[in-house]
Homo-oligomer: 481 residues x 2
């Protein structure tokens, strides 16, 4: 397994591609979105077959995929994302003159992207990681997820059609199939400059440690999921018991619970617990079993549930029913907060439609919970306005534990926009200062460089006098266009 | 050695301090700069005594220190650094409404800062790392450098005077003395959220690996120095032989060569090598020996030189003369590019006034050198405008290898401004996507968080409707104020 020629070609492509104007990079991404759309009728059935996800979901996911491609296309066509910063020379400054210094974000080089099983399109071959890397100016060496090989090959074909149409080097994107050994070899290659991954904690941590032990360590942007707790308060639950139970169960069971932002943990006040449990149980009755992504995931889900069933602290509201091992059947258990606090095992993500309902007795207990809580992609607070006013300190604590804090709705259904933060403190990710969804995701694949007294004709357009790109730039500390 | 109470207090201080308005954080920093200025007559003699650096330099360094404190004070008083981004709700969007999502940068929590021996003020107790962390909203647990304990205590006193004057919690800054074991214990503490370090490669890498092996890994911003090569071209050297030799030697020997940006490597074309060597030798005659920071550094310097003297590829232009072990005596050796390319040992930094002059024969050799070169804080190109036009590909390659690329002047003397980038690809730093000098240094100590449908009264001012802080914000993808 030698990836030298792949990386050498990618590096060569990089040295050309990085200097192309944003308008050309954006046109390439737009072309890719067009090609994907025009192959919808071929892609969708493949992805449905390989993921067991319903056609409606896959159709939506393709729309989301091309939507985020166009978001990044617009971002790089507009161009201000490079954070151009200019401190002009001050030749007459005393005691020493100041040189002309200009800084912007430059792409890292070839990066390795790992596909995710639960989003065969939006977080896979032409998914957010690949696209934000290409938008930044980085060639992508893509390690296909073995759960959907045909879908992946088809999408890779579309990417190469777009590359061809735009006259770009084909090494901008390389599709690699294989297992763990291939993935490790890619991460270890000396020319790799960063790694993006969405998947399990074990997988993410293995890549993280591998990359840190390289002779030249590289960043690993691993999004490893979380349990996404919901904190509920008495008045809110009393007023909206039925609606909240419905919203919770609908979010928990969406896509058979196979989302990173799936709410696997809910904190409920003791006085309202019984009513909420009844409402939840009623909702659960209508939830049909549905096939999970692949038998391995279903097996892991039932193994985790079975393990939890041996814990006497848990009282089961609904027990999972593994009729056929590919099917995901919803499960839910109740536990006292005092017991939950005793073992961090109860914070471990069970990938699938399982939730733990933690019954708390006091606000002091809630503060203890917040302090005890591991890092999360999201935390949701369901409270009436007036009871929120008494929880400012709790909200302050919860901010430390998540990347996104919600006060309405459910954590599933991550918007792709400018303000989205999909990331969070460890162990939800290995890089809490980054996001894998939304416009800011592009920053993961760039680093700042400063040019000192560089001749105008050599400067990148983003930093030239007269602002030929018409982008936002900070000049002498002031933003201007 | 138990730092629990220090970190617990810092965490408590953090939960209060992070929510203070930028104007109050800025006022605190301004007060600190005032207190330091008012103690100049006590600080300067201590630092001179403990660093062996001349009084003029230390006086200048104190000015630089208070200057950068005021830069960060202004940055947080102005407030736009938090990158406020708002995607307002779209309740009527189909098929699904969009929630209100607002994102900004929030401080990480308590951070550990290590002082540097070569800047007893500007990169130490109240230096750039401490100040950018406090500006971001993070309490600092500061590990004093054992080379200047009295200076460090005095500056820590000034910081605490400022804390007291502003009525802030004293745990915002904690001064810790000790050795390697204490430093390691700080980095391993569960409540530590990031580490900043300026120093040796060995020291930085030890902290990097320690932090990555924590149960919850944290980022290490280690600036570990580099050899900062200068690439010279024939016409430029012919025209300015004398002036360039003078500039080079003056930069090489500034502060007895004890700068991270010290130019320890210079590439010279064969035809001009002899004349340049003569000019350099003439300059070197006037350079007096001067004491280094401390005997340990002088010892390491002479050990490295002695080791290199055993290498037959090197021809010595000036041999170091260790009359008294504390003194730094300049040394310089010449080597053929073909030999230099054979051993990466010749890229290793020798901390002190040592430079290697590498004689190249062709432009092809230069490209090979650029490819072979390790990551650097800076690279300098000395070329005439017309010969630069033939080196576009080389310049393109060099961009991949550094954080700052200069076309005039010398790499020493790092400006503290908005556009400065003091960082670079590994092994010059462990975090090429960050800078330890200049306004952007604050970003190291913050991470993004998004609030979804948060009630107005709970939102931080930076994200409220009506923009009460009057800062730059991105709303629906457009920057506005």
């Amino acid at each position: 397994m030698n990836f030298d020629s792949i990386f050498n070609s990618a590096q060569e492509a990089f040295l050309f591609y990085k200097n192309l104007p944003g308008t050309e990079k954006g046109a390439f991404l737009d072309t890719m979105a067009d090609v994907l759309e025009s192959h919808r009728s071929e892609i969708v059935p493949l992805a449905v077959k390989e993921s067991n996800l319903p056609e409606g979901r896959i159709n939506g996911e393709l729309g989301r995929t091309t939507g985020q491609i166009r978001l990044f296309a617009n971002l790089v066509k507009e161009g201000s994302w490079v954070e151009a910063t200019i401190d002009p020379a001050l030749p007459d400054r005393t005691p020493l003159p100041r040189a002309d210094i200009r800084r912007f974000l430059t792409p890292l080089g070839p990066v390795v992207v790992f596909g995710a099983s639960n989003f065969p399109l939006a977080f896979s071959t032409a998914g957010g990681d690949t696209i934000s890397a290409l938008a930044a100016g980085c060639p992508v060496i893509y390690k296909a997820h073995p759960a959907h090989p045909e879908t992946s090959r088809k999408v890779a074909d579309c990417i190469h059609q777009a590359i061809l149409k735009c006259g770009l080097p084909s090494a901008l994107f390389t599709h690699v199939e294989g297992g763990i050994a291939e993935g490790q070899a890619l991460v270890k290659h000396p020319l790799a400059k960063a790694v993006a991954f969405t998947g399990s904690h074990a997988g993410g941590m293995a890549l993280f440690h591998l990359a840190n032990q390289r002779e030249n360590p590289i960043p690993v942007y691993a999004e490893m999921g979380s349990v996404n707790p919901i904190f509920t308060f008495p008045h809110k639950l009393e007023k909206e018991n039925q609606a909240l139970a419905k919203a919770f169960i609908s979010s928990l069971t969406l896509g058979v619970g196979q989302f990173c932002t799936n709410p696997g943990l809910i904190f409920v006040p003791e006085a309202q617990a019984k009513a909420f449990e009844n409402a939840v149980a009623a909702e659960l009755k209508d939830i049909a079993v549905a096939p999970m992504l692949h038998p391995g995931i279903a097996q892991a889900y039932y193994d985790s549930i079975q393990f939890l069933e041996s814990r006497e602290e848990l009282r089961w509201v609904k027990v999972a029913d593994p009729k056929h091992l590919i099917n995901g059947s919803t499960a839910m258990a109740e536990i006292k907060a005092a017991d939950w606090l005793k073992d961090t095992l109860f914070q471990k993500e069970v990938f699938g439609a399982f939730a733990m309902m933690v019954v708390y007795q006091s606000e002091d207990e809630l503060l203890e919970i917040a302090q005890h809580l591991h890092g999360q992609l999201t935390i949701t607070v369901w409270a009436e306005a007036e009871e929120l006013q008494n929880q400012l300190f709790l909200v302050n604590l919860l901010e430390e534990k998540c990347g996104r804090l919600l006060f309405k709705g459910v954590p599933t259904g991550v918007e792709v926009g400018y303000a989205m933060q999909h990331g969070g403190p460890f162990p939800s990710t290995t890089a809490p200062n980054s996001t894998s969804v939304g416009a800011h995701a592009i920053k993961r694949f760039a680093r700042p460089i400063a040019f000192q007294d560089m001749p105008q004709e050599l400067l990148p357009d983003a930093l030239r006098d007269g602002n030929p790109l018409g982008i936002w730039r900070m000049v002498n500390g002031n933003l201007e266009k």
